[in-house]
Symmetry: C2
Subunit: 444 residues, 2 copies
């Protein structure tokens, strides 16, 4: 095993699950490991406490006149359930079939560490970096970065930069260099419907009172029309139409066709908003999704109850120029006006983040394309991204800098799901990509 | 504590949960306790093995020319979850506020043991019974009595009787003698919708594939129209209309008005099929209910997945002359034709039982009314029942005898739910009712 892979394995062994308060110590331990690693590389590294999980910042000695590059990543990870579906334990990384298997392997520890190790390699080769570098690593990305924006405001001067680089997005197919220039936003909520004070016998009471589990089904069904369009009043009002050049380029991007999507997901068929291709549906159209629902009897066999309550966890992926707060107001209004009779509704809104889009043909965008071309030996494809990195829009608003999205995540990486993985080849390409990127940005 | 209450407490301590295979030994232990108790009373008692849980049969020495009465009950109980909502442990009976608190206190151990102890008292007082008695106690009522019908066929001659008495139904209000003459039937199934091979990231894939949790909501919503009528093709075809005398009598029955129903259930409002009163909706109209549903992330916070699958557990309460197999065929057809695109559907049907109705003014019906009148000192009300005791229809078909439903269960008994309870007064009245019933049937 290379020293780089050994570093990654150490990093992956921290169960840094930010949403689960029982793992707060593991998240902090992971941040401490980063500070030690960055310090050992000769960078000035600091752990900053926040009301939540720590932020880690590191920098070289800045030289006036050089391009200042901020590289962002996150060291927290998603929960691992259902644990039983993992082939190997999520926090005991293994290499099988040329891939690293662990929670966080792709999202985001593998991609993030590639940047860190690329910088280590440049320092080893040249004793210096061609740019002024700032590493900014947070531990709350998976819970919506609640403490990063205040941190940016407080440290605005220290974090001032010309451009931001992030590897936390997708690569359309193995070996195809991919530059992302847009992200979907997100807003989340949970709705609970309550009926009887406790579970009722479905024989003695069934027919006379509303069933919250039936009602949650009706509420969920109200979110879309039969064709799959979101049926919330005004939901699409602010959606920016696709540009013609985007539709043309995306129609030629490999890896996002219908056959690939069927193969990657294992779905019996595709389904989505009429009038758009699969890539367009994911990269440029908003969604309403049920992430979890439950109520009533969950065990083996049957239990003939009318459950006292039922819940649904919803998230909405947003595109420019939708605003998360405006959408959540419309969602809340929709849920209230579509709540079936005989039950009460409680809506709790969760984290959110704005969508993002920038120009991939800017000065720094062209430098990123040149670095991708050099490392992968092929023409980069320009895409948007279905996922959300809300902090990218926040960077623009607070630091005034745009972000280059240099994605190394493959479609079958199983991020947020059991058996997350990252090809060793992508990890090694990421280390080389960081070296090329800093050189190209230095002369941009 | 009276010896009768002590007997009941012993009986209630067996966790005889028939649906849970881990409790098979407890169910059997409970049957063994019954055989010992019945034998000690001087009856001939036998434990009969079945492919499932045992049947217990006991009898006195039969005398030609006497009326033969079969008294049926069940010693198995519903599961106890959610356990956290119980004030006292479900299998550690307690008396508080004049009520016995335990799983099975009302359904059916308390009501069943009242019959047994009434017989014990008659034997103690008179040394003999005025009728030929057969006790038939099963351990599979809560899972649909899968082995009782074959048992009845095999023992048809030994179980031949003139009339059957059962206390496993409702008493409309405390102290109001209640004779039931009808029961709803039931049929159950579980539907599972499957989409992707595993959970997917809702950003990377959301919009391009169907979400099984969204689809299960749409499937649930297809079961009813907005007013609460079941929307399955042909569902109401065989429903027998209410008789005018039934609507008149039920409009005067205490305890089943809208205010009582709101208070008993704690619901924010009532809801049901238009054109029917609360009593009519429960006693004479069929239902489609969601007993449980689930899918996707169940934990704290949010997890932005598209779940691989989602399930719903359904049950349908049926009324004369609906047939469970006909209804399940219509349900299966409905689910298949309303399954949203992009997911696969698997339906597993569960237990079922036919609805039942008889004439409360028959010879034995009048004897039962006389016994109720004598014990409670008030005119009995004649009702149907929302719950299901499928074996009642089976008794009629195999043994040729109708059943008297002498219910002692109050609306707030919490049967099938946490904090099940049974008033001590009802237990004691039940013991006296059995004594009066056997006397009145002897001269019917």
């Amino acid at each position: 095993m290379t020293p780089q892979l050994a570093d990654l394995f150490e990093f992956l062994r921290f169960p840094s699950v930010s949403t689960d308060s029982r793992h707060a110590g593991d998240v902090r331990g992971c941040a401490g490991w980063l500070v030690a690693k960055l310090s050992a590389m000769g960078l000035g590294a600091e752990l900053h406490d926040t009301p939540g999980h720590p932020v880690v910042v590191a920098r070289n000695v800045h030289v006036p006149g050089r391009c200042t590059v901020l590289i962002y990543g996150h060291y927290d990870v998603q929960p691992v359930d259902p644990l039983a579906l993992w082939t190997s334990a999520p926090f005991a990384p293994e290499i099988r079939d040329g891939k690293i298997w662990a929670r966080g392997a792709t999202d985001n520890k593998g991609q993030m560490l590639a940047h860190l190790l690329g910088v280590e390699q440049t320092l080893r080769d040249h004793g210096d970096l061609p740019v002024n570098l700032i590493f900014l690593f947070e531990g709350e990305e998976e819970i919506g970065s609640p403490n990063l924006a205040p941190f940016l405001v407080r440290h605005r001067d220290a974090l001032r930069c010309d451009v931001i680089a992030i590897s936390d997005t997708g690569m359309v197919a193995p070996g195809v260099p991919t530059l992302g220039y847009g992200l979907r936003g997100i807003t989340c909520c949970e709705a609970v419907l309550r009926g009887p004070a406790g579970d009722l016998h479905s024989g003695l009471f069934g027919g006379a009172v509303a069933n919250p589990a039936t009602a949650i089904g009706r509420l969920i069904a109200s979110l879309h029309d039969a064709d799959g369009r979101v049926a919330i009043d005004g939901f699409y009002d602010q959606v920016r139409p696709l540009e013609n050049w985007e539709r043309r380029m995306w129609s030629q991007v490999p890896g996002v066709g219908d056959l690939e999507m069927l193969e990657t997901t294992g779905c019996p068929g595709l389904f989505g908003e009429p009038g758009y291709t699969t890539a367009e549906r994911i990269w440029a159209r908003p969604t309403a999704e049920v992430n979890g629902l439950g109520g009533g009897y969950q065990g083996e066999g049957s239990k003939t109850v009318l459950p006292a309550e039922a819940f649904v966890k919803l998230s909405f992926r947003l595109v420019p120029d939708q605003d998360p707060q405006d959408i959540m107001a419309k969602v809340t209004c929709h849920l209230a006006s579509h709540c079936p009779p005989g039950v009460t509704l409680e809506v709790t809104s969760g984290h959110d983040g704005k969508p993002y889009v920038t120009d991939p043909h800017s000065r720094y965008g062209r430098a990123a394309q040149a670095a991708l071309r050099a490392v992968f030996g092929a023409e980069p494809v320009l895409i948007r991204e279905g996922g959300s990195i809300p902090i990218v829009q926040t960077f623009r608003e607070i630091l005034g800098a745009d972000s280059l999205l240099l994605g190394l995540a493959l479609a079958d990486a199983q991020i947020h799901a059991p058996n997350e993985n990252f090809p060793v080849a992508n990890f090694e390409a990421g280390i080389r990509l960081n070296q090329a990127l800093l050189q190209h940005l230095a002369s941009a």
